[in-house]
Symmetry: C2
Subunit: 601 residues, 2 copies
């Protein structure tokens, strides 16, 4: 059965978007085009909900109100997701048929002409939100999944967010400059995606993990303020919520001190939130040195929508008889507590679960003290402590009756991250974080270097061009672990959304840095020669930052995963289920690339 | 010798850009930062031209005007391209020292404090325009090449052009949607760059030649108006002015007829020219069907800044005795002339060169008739024609005394492209095209199919989803070569800057198209199955266009090559001379990708 009219494309040409009908006067003649969302047949009258990108409006096919015969016949044939264009008259609905659920619920369009532009098969799932569909099915039919209102609005929001970022940067003297995708494999860093060269047998391009080197070179070139919405690539084993290609807002500036750059970035982010979400974010953002963040929250990206800071029990427990705690203190370890509000009534099972939770993060165990409503205590370590001692602990921790004090003991490296994870876990299970709040902060003064036990040398935490704090430079030769970097992360609600640093731009500091990393000058030039050469020609003081745009959009759109904010994402195994990429290629294609597949086994 | 101060970064923090000093009052205290462009030492006074991104200003180091001793000492050490920050007082220059060549030529800054932020080695070439430097040297030191004012202004213009395009599209309901870079190798089309997959042994991603399939799927998804500043990749043998990766302004729309889309695109381009170049472009753009363009100008992208249309001599030469021409007409060939204004005095050598020129384009030769000032003729075919006959030809060609008539004879396929190339060549050598003019036009109604002699079948000129003109659809089965496409190119000054088409969106037309291409239904599904499936779920009428942004920027910026409008371009062999990409990778990297390099023996 041929349903579609055999006629010229666009016999009826859209005069209004659906959303525009709201501001048009009743009686206006309109041509609308879109998809059939729903069809209800009452014999002599057929109602059709027409959907376009801007909204949904009710069409009425009614002989009694002037719909001609050919249109009545067409109305019989319509099914969900058919594509139509109609001409009709905009009218106010009768009071009893008003639909308050949709924006255009007070109007309807009485149809006078229709073109069925296309038919549609039954989709594999309903085109609406809140329907439980296996994600693999959604991804395989992504073009239908993207028809759902939720996905439409997320991608529209993505557009608006990126536009708001650009607006700020364009207004502040930043130039967008595109850097290459076909570039060179970097020494150090994550695993690169490679692209074989046909013209240079046996040689490869690499896809960029970030435009880091290029943006620093653009500062050498004197562009002073650069940004780019940059695609980046990392061939890592994908965790649940990672993508092999992702989008970064990449920024670099010259002659701008760290504090001024941070201030500008805050203003930018606050403007974006105001434009896109209508939210006013208080400024300046809190600034928390890394050491303090670890000490108080056991994380370099704490969610500060709730406080629940750790309490140091070293003083109040100094001289304790309890062997476990005394040993920890004697070995220079820490005793840290956090207070779970209102959890004094936790069952044995519940406290055991918390112990198991921290064990998963490498901490041996957890002591607890429940502060009961009557002022007494219930505790896993009650045989070793008097109520008076418990009271001292509770006072120190500012625990109130009804609260549960959880104590971790051990080395800093064991206790802090484990309690940090526990803090997040409790924040979530207890609903401590306001889902509508946006709590931004800066983590600063990251360690410049960390000791790599395998390589038996100091390695750069960020990259070897990160500037140390000036006053720490002398420590590079004597106590590298103590050197703090001029590095900063922007954190939102427990997620790192951006990170950057001031860069080393003077040769003598760079040389001290390489010495601290254990490189000879020769090794340094072997790895980074071309960049070091560039730096010899008048490099300005510079620094920058990169924001994870997908993550920011996910947080602002309230999406559940990165896959929901990317039009055509890949699965955890790096597969595009719709395109079926990656795929096989012909032997001929491999031959011109001078390649053979290595068969294992 | 350590020249650079050992002190905190940013001891002096910029208060003004150089360009801002123009609007500041004399007497203002300013902190400027940038590079030493030039230093002139007059013993007690040192002048330094300071350059930042915004411009150049003169600094004065003068003890007599209050420059302190430490700054006088620093001034002695300065060399070209040193990076400095200075504090000083803005003053009007004496009348005799005013420099009208620079914007800030009436002011100078008397220095009171200086930080030498960095030293600089002697650059391998002067950082100024108009210096002859080997392009390979420029590309190897691209970070210095980009310091030249010309390159700075081109990249700033690139930013402004792209921003102006976005502005128009954002204001007209278009959404920017990012599509994947890691995608699937396409059947048909140019050669893909491949990316081996680590997780799926022996499988490959491909880099997109364009987002064509994705943008059509976004129309299936109902986004209706899409755009993207999209990076595209083609592994072709690079001609002089091509890049393996290039940037495309990619656009797709639903429910918009071809004429409306063309109109919108014209308005967009005209807005960009107004914003960026202050040029008003007359609209609507001329529309020229492909057949007429070939017939009149021998090109599907004629430069219409000058006319020089071909003249058909078939009528005036019908019945000629001249065997060569008579044979051509008898065989259904063409006799076409073009008139080179003011070239009647061309020497034998000059006309021979023109003959050689067309021979390079496969045309056997060229007859000429010089219309002399006294009304007589000089011609390569004078023995076969009377002056009266020459006069008839000259009248037909509207040639004036002093003009040179050039005549090509042969089949359409030989004559039209060769004369078209000759027309461009003459336009250039005679300076017929106003270098400041912007002449836009549309070429429309391209042939849908062309016959591939090798494959012995009809192939799609654009791609198999291009919509035929409705009235030509019946010809698909009977005379495929006559079918015109709903395709259109935008041409500027002889360059194709954009091209697009309406797409096939109805199954029965798609099936006729595949039949014309000689595919069975099975073969069609084998090649394009996943897209054909998507098209079954309610595909709206849609069409789009893609603009070559690099080319547009080149034309608007008056740059000489595409390499000059790309920050980090590659050479004709696909090499990045600065990064030395592509490069070798480790055996380990290849192993995890399940690859071996194939060594040719």
């Amino acid at each position: 059965m041929v349903i579609v009219e055999q006629q010229v494309m666009h016999r009826l040409t859209r005069s209004h978007w659906v959303a525009d009908t709201l501001s048009a006067l009743p009686g206006t003649s309109v041509v609308l085009a879109g998809w059939v969302q729903r069809r209800r047949d009452f014999g002599s009258v057929v109602f059709v909900d027409l959907r376009d990108r801007s909204g949904i409006v009710q069409l009425v096919f009614d002989r009694g109100r002037g719909t001609p015969e050919h249109a009545m016949e067409a109305a019989d044939k319509l099914r969900n997701e058919f594509v139509i264009a109609i001409e009709g008259t905009l009218e106010k609905r009768d009071a009893e048929t008003i639909n308050p659920k949709i924006a255009t619920g007070e109007i309807e369009v009485v149809v006078r002409d229709i073109v069925i532009e296309n038919t549609a098969k039954n989709p594999p799932f309903y085109i609406q939100d809140g329907v439980e569909v296996d994600e693999a099915v959604r991804l395989r039919h992504r073009y239908l999944d993207l028809r759902r209102p939720e996905m439409q609005s997320i991608l529209m929001m993505r557009h608006r967010i990126i536009r708001a970022f650009r607006q700020y940067l364009d207004d502040h003297g930043f130039l967008e400059i595109e850097t290459p995708i076909l570039t060179k494999s970097t020494p150090e860093g994550a695993r690169d995606y490679l692209v074989p060269s046909r013209l240079q047998p046996g040689e490869f391009y690499a896809l960029p993990q970030s435009p880091q080197i290029f943006k620093q070179l653009l500062m050498v070139s004197g562009f002073e303020r650069y940004y780019q919405i940059a695609r980046c690539f990392r061939d890592e084993d994908l965790r649940a919520d990672r993508q092999p290609e992702f989008t970064q807002l990449d920024i670099e500036t010259s002659f701008l001190p760290q504090a001024a750059l941070q201030d500008m970035m805050e203003e930018m982010v606050a403007n974006v939130l105001r434009d896109v979400a209508g939210v006013e974010v208080p400024r300046p953002f809190q600034r928390l040195p890394y050491a303090e963040a670890m000490d108080k929250y056991g994380s370099d990206k704490p969610d500060l929508r709730f406080d629940m800071a750790f309490v140091d029990l070293a003083d109040v427990l100094a001289g304790t008889d309890f062997r476990v705690f005394a040993d920890v203190l004697a070995k220079g370890g820490v005793l840290k507590a956090l207070v779970a509000p209102g959890c004094a009534g936790y069952s044995r099972k519940q406290t055991d679960d918390l112990v198991d939770f921290v064990k998963g993060y490498g901490l041996g165990g957890l002591a607890y003290i429940a502060v009961l409503e009557d002022g007494s205590f219930r505790s896993s370590i009650s045989k070793f402590f008097s109520d008076e001692q418990f009271r001292a602990i509770a006072d120190c921790a500012k625990a109130k009756p009804g609260d549960l004090i959880l104590i971790g003991a051990g080395s800093r490296k064991q206790v802090l991250p484990a309690l940090g994870a526990l803090r997040s876990h409790l924040g979530q299970t207890l609903g401590l974080a306001d889902p509508n709040a946006y709590k931004f902060l800066w983590i600063t003064d990251f360690p410049l270097l960390s000791y790599d036990e395998e390589e038996k040398r100091w390695v750069a935490e960020h990259h070897p061009f990160t500037m140390p704090r000036e006053e720490d430079i002398p420590l590079l030769g004597t106590d590298p672990g103590k050197v703090r970097a001029q590095a900063y992360d922007m954190v939102l609600n427990g997620f790192e959304i951006g990170g950057g640093s001031m860069r080393i731009y003077r040769r003598e500091i760079q040389e001290q840095m390489f010495a601290a990393l254990g490189f000879t000058k020769e090794e340094a030039y072997d790895k980074f020669g071309f960049l070091l050469n560039a730096f010899e020609y008048g490099t300005p003081p510079h620094g920058g930052i990169a924001f994870g745009l997908d993550r920011i959009i996910m947080l602002l759109a309230g999406a559940k995963s990165l896959r929901d904010v990317i039009a055509f994402p890949k699965t955890a195994s790096g597969t595009d289920l719709m395109m079926e990429a990656p795929g096989e290629v012909s032997e001929e294609q491999l031959k011109v690339l001078h390649l053979r597949v290595r068969h294992h086994g």
